[in-house]
């Protein structure tokens, strides 16, 4: 048996496979890519920005330390035992069948550790799910294939993709789904909860510091599960007020010829059967509300940043950008697409 030759050949196969796998990665340049999906900086569970996440991280740190200690001890015992007793003559093997005291010890000690962990776990659960006291803001979050809708029932605002909230104010979330199950999660702010059809789930979180925190759907929900991003944007109370005041206005009248033509095309076409634009005749409820579309940073579950060029790409052929997108390709003329993109870009 020529082991060396076999290994050499197998190594070649591996190398070839790796090159095939890695080449496209090297060819791709993620930066400076205006048509690449939206990316959030560090959506890490280890970088908490809410009081409840800080609590969860204390629990996680405790587990990490305990698990680390157990890992070192047990793995160490295993390796040392194998090392110490390897290759001994068979006659030296000590014929013991067991030891009841040891059995009791290694039942009891893990039991105590786990009881501690359970106590810590129950306490953290109670803290994270404790009812909100004092002022809060209520939002209704609705999962759709494959984008997130955000409603502020107290403010009469309906938006999508980006959830603006004031820093320091508890946000009470009511979770729904319009179709299949989705998972609502922002690693830096709150643990995930599913949006389950026919169920209303409730949770709450508070943003500690201003910034945009990325999230995405975590419950597999079909073809474009990967392209169902959203973000929570923490802003000051004043900024939130200003934003809300603007969102409560009907859509501004289009400025400029292209935008005017675009509005006409939009209102006269199939767009209105799915989309609402406040203050106009467009009142569809299937797709995202577009009243203040241009106040958002990205569209279609984060598959594109919101720019006029990207809007054109999207309207012209959504499936070219997001294969499973449910928005149909209406086969519009490029001029019409430009006009509609111009119109939508005015919806600040």
């Amino acid at each position: 048996m020529n082991t060396r030759r076999t290994l050499f050949l197998a190594g070649l196969v591996l190398a070839a496979a790796l090159v095939v796998a890695v080449m496209p990665a090297l060819a791709q340049n993620g930066d400076d890519c205006p048509t690449c999906p939206v990316s959030f900086t560090g959506p890490s569970t280890l970088d908490p920005h809410s009081p409840t996440m800080i609590e969860i991280n204390k629990l996680f740190d405790f587990i990490l330390v305990m698990a680390g200690a157990v890992f070192v001890l047990v793995e160490g015992a295993l390796i040392l035992t194998v090392w110490r007793f390897r290759n001994r003559p068979a006659g030296e093997a000590v014929q013991i069948h067991g030891n009841t005291k040891l059995e009791i010890a290694w039942t009891a000690v893990p039991g105590v550790i786990l009881a501690m962990l359970l106590g810590f776990t129950l306490r953290t659960m109670a803290v994270v799910r404790a009812p909100v006291s004092g002022d809060s803001i209520k939002v209704v979050v609705i999962g759709h294939q494959w984008w997130w809708e955000f409603q502020y029932p107290e403010l009469g605002i309906i938006t999508a993709n980006q959830l603006l909230v004031p820093v320091g104010t508890p946000v009470e979330v009511e979770l729904h789904s319009r179709d299949v199950q989705h998972g609502f999660w922002v690693p830096q702010l709150f643990g995930k909860m599913d949006a389950v059809p026919a169920h209303t789930n409730r949770m709450h979180f508070t943003v500690n510091s201003a910034g945009e925190y990325g999230g995405q759907c975590t419950q597999f929900c079909g073809e474009e599960h990967a392209q169902m991003r959203f973000s929570v944007v923490g802003v000051s109370a004043a900024e939130f007020q200003a934003w809300a005041a603007n969102q409560q206005q009907p859509a501004p009248a289009p400025g400029g010829d292209a935008a005017a033509r675009g509005q006409k095309a939009f209102m006269g076409g199939a767009c209105v059967s799915c989309h609402t634009i406040g203050g106009t005749s467009a009142a569809g409820k299937i797709g995202p509300n577009l009243t203040h579309l241009a106040s958002r940073n990205f569209i279609a579950g984060g598959v594109l940043y919101l720019t006029e060029d990207n809007l054109k790409l999207w309207i012209q052929n959504p499936q070219a950008i997001k294969a499973g997108a449910l928005m149909p390709n209406l086969g519009l003329a490029p001029d019409t697409v430009s006009d509609i993109a111009a119109y939508l870009s005015t919806l600040k």
């Binding site: 082991t3 290994l7 790796l18 095939v20 796998a21 890695v22 496209p24 990665a25 791709q28 993620g30 930066d31 990316s39 560090g42 890490s44 280890l46 969860i56 629990l59 996680f60 587990i63 698990a67 890992f71 793995e75 295993l78 194998v82 007793f85 290759n87 001994r88 093997a93 000590v94 013991i96 069948h97 040891l102 059995e103 290694w106 893990p110 962990l117 810590f120 953290t124 659960m125 799910r129 294939q145 299949v180 199950q181 999660w185 643990g191 909860m193 389950v196 059809p197 026919a198 169920h199 995405q216 759907c217 975590t218 597999f220 929900c221 079909g222 073809e223 599960h225 990967a226 392209q227």
Partner: protein, 545 residues
């Protein structure tokens, strides 16, 4: 002129294709299981490589979402239902009768049926690739995603039918194992003194018997919803999608133990033989399996901590899930104690058995982390969970399976696998495994959800994914080495004789491969490790009495 002999049915052919098609010999059926399931392992492995290639770096377009979702669904479904569960049943088929000194399984024809149902279930499932597209709703196929509203076409129906056949196969097999083990042990073999692999198969079979009907029901109900207009999971019709999750996990969490207990049984055979010591704490290892099996039915909703259950429900399932770590720990401590003060011989099966313990420790610890509900809210449905399941199912079950293949190949085929290639296989396998899966803990904590076909750049996920992909191809290399070893050793490997390892259990007392009737004289045994106690001559060295 009829003679008495001519009225007997024609005997089955002894060799050739037809002999394998018509066989009811548990050993041949076992080998059919092994080759069939190993074939599906390769299929599932290629699917895994496809997934890994696509995720190597951000924003790749190697395959699109449509293909990706089929491939990852089929990877999970294949590895669980067509590889790990049935290959362990394959070992059971071959070795349970031999280990208990029986001539065959209790119901040889049912045994045959189990195999063919498995094969056709697997073929039905995989035929979907060329008949309109493979299932694409994940191996969990949550409703309502898996209902006709959101999964048009027939892909999910292929999934249902394939799994129904496999489930029936599994159930029939479980009954067969239980009856065989309970009624056909050779004289002198007490239930509590059976070889640990047999004990594990008994406990596993009991789990299969109680758990599998639940997924059978779930699959039938889903089929009715999809094809006959029932509304169990339809929100519009007053149904509830969470019924699916409860039914599915009521089977699929016990399935985790169905996949690990027999592998634990295998290494509990291997460790004593290559330590030249009896298994430490035999009864504790045995009863901890029973404890795991019972408790295994009370932890299913730890897969559902994020569906919005009341805290009281989550608390119960958290506690039950943590408790399961105790019997698992008992096993690990007893295995290490088996090695302690032994004469440890690092053969390939032993390396894989030790690798099992070593990797399973990591999977067990991440499992405890996942049982802590708030941490689960953070890690559920991320790559952290993907890391966890692979440390228990690959680091555990698959290492155990390879340990068993190296250990028992000389019994099944009369030739040992090449030890040198075997050790190369082990080390490359272990390296690749850790490259592929350890980083997934980290990238999960960094927020990467599972089941996504692509991810944006700039989130710090690329390097971990690149390493994972390199690891996956490294595993593929090691499996390739194993297959080369298998093919070469089966033709020209070292002859093993009846007992190449100095084994303690009955299979080593008969020829390799054993005759159709297994034993010329049905053995009588006393106590654990009958061959060591009997002081028979072995190629291996004899431990002290």
């Amino acid at each position: 002129m009829a003679t008495a002999a001519s009225t007997l049915p024609a005997s089955r052919p002894a060799s050739g294709f037809m002999s394998w098609i018509t066989t009811v010999d548990h050993k041949r059926i076992g080998i059919l299981y092994l080759y069939t399931t190993f074939f599906f392992f390769i299929v599932g492995g290629l699917e895994a490589l496809t997934v890994r290639a696509q995720l190597t770096w951000s924003n790749l377009k190697f395959i699109g979402p449509d293909v990706y979702n089929q491939v990852f669904t089929m990877h999970g479904t294949t590895m669980i239902f067509l590889f790990v569960i049935p290959i362990l049943a394959g070992f059971g088929n071959y070795f349970v009768p031999l280990l208990i000194g029986a001539r065959d399984m209790a119901f040889p024809k049912l045994n045959m049926l189990s195999f063919w149902l498995l094969l056709f279930g697997g073929l039905v499932l995989n035929s979907s690739f060329v008949l309109g597209g493979a299932p694409n709703a994940g191996w969990t196929s949550y409703a309502p995603l898996s209902t006709t509203v959101y999964s048009t076409g027939s892909a999910i129906d292929f999934w249902i039918f394939g799994l129904l056949l496999v489930g029936i196969s599994s159930t029939i097999g479980a009954i067969n194992f239980l009856v065989t083990i309970l009624t056909m042990r050779c004289p002198g073999m007490k239930l509590t003194e059976m070889p640990m692999f047999v004990w594990s198969m008994m406990v596993t079979s009991a789990m299969v018997l109680f758990a599998t009907p639940m997924i059978t029901v779930a699959l039938i109900v889903l089929f009715l919803d999809r094809n006959f207009g029932t509304l169990y999971f339809s929100v519009a019709g007053g149904g509830d999608p969470l019924i699916w999750q409860n039914l599915f996990w009521f089977y699929s969490h016990p399935a985790v133990y169905i996949m690990i207990l027999p592998a634990m049984g295998i290494i509990s055979e291997v460790l004593p033989v290559f330590s030249r010591k009896p298994l430490f704490g035999h009864q504790f290892i045995a009863w901890s399996s029973v404890f795991i099996a019972v408790l295994g039915f009370a932890v299913w909703a730890h897969h559902m901590f994020q569906v919005g259950s009341p805290l009281s429900v989550d608390s119960f399932f958290a506690a039950a899930s943590m408790v399961i770590a105790v019997p698992t720990g008992i096993k690990i401590f007893n295995w290490i104690s088996t090695l302690y003060q032994g004469a440890v011989k690092l053969t390939t099966p032993m390396l894989f058995a030790i690798g099992f313990i070593s990797m399973f420790i990591i999977g067990g610890l991440s499992g405890v982390a996942l049982a802590a509900v708030p941490v689960n809210w953070q890690t559920h449905d991320t790559y952290f969970v993907v890391a966890h399941i692979h440390y228990v199912l690959f680091g555990g079950s698959v290492f155990g399976i390879f340990s068993g293949l190296y250990y028992w190949a000389p019994k099944m085929f009369g030739r040992k696998l090449n030890e040198r290639l075997g050790k190369w296989h082990f080390w490359i396998h272990t390296l690749g495994f850790n490259l592929a899966f350890f980083g997934m803990h980290m990238v999960g904590l960094l927020g990467m959800p599972r089941r996504i076909y692509t991810y944006a750049s700039g989130q710090g996920w690329e390097v971990y994914n690149l390493i994972s992909t390199i690891g996956a191809f490294t595993i593929a290399l090691s499996v390739l080495l194993f297959m080369i070893n298998w093919v070469v050793s089966m033709r020209s490997g070292e002859a093993g004789g009846n007992d190449p390892w100095g084994g303690a259990t009955l299979e080593w007392s008969t020829s390799s491969p054993p005759p159709a009737h297994n034993f010329d004289i049905v053995p009588t045994v006393h106590g654990l490790n009958p061959l060591w106690a009997a002081g028979e001559h072995h190629a291996g060295e004899q431990p002290h009495a």
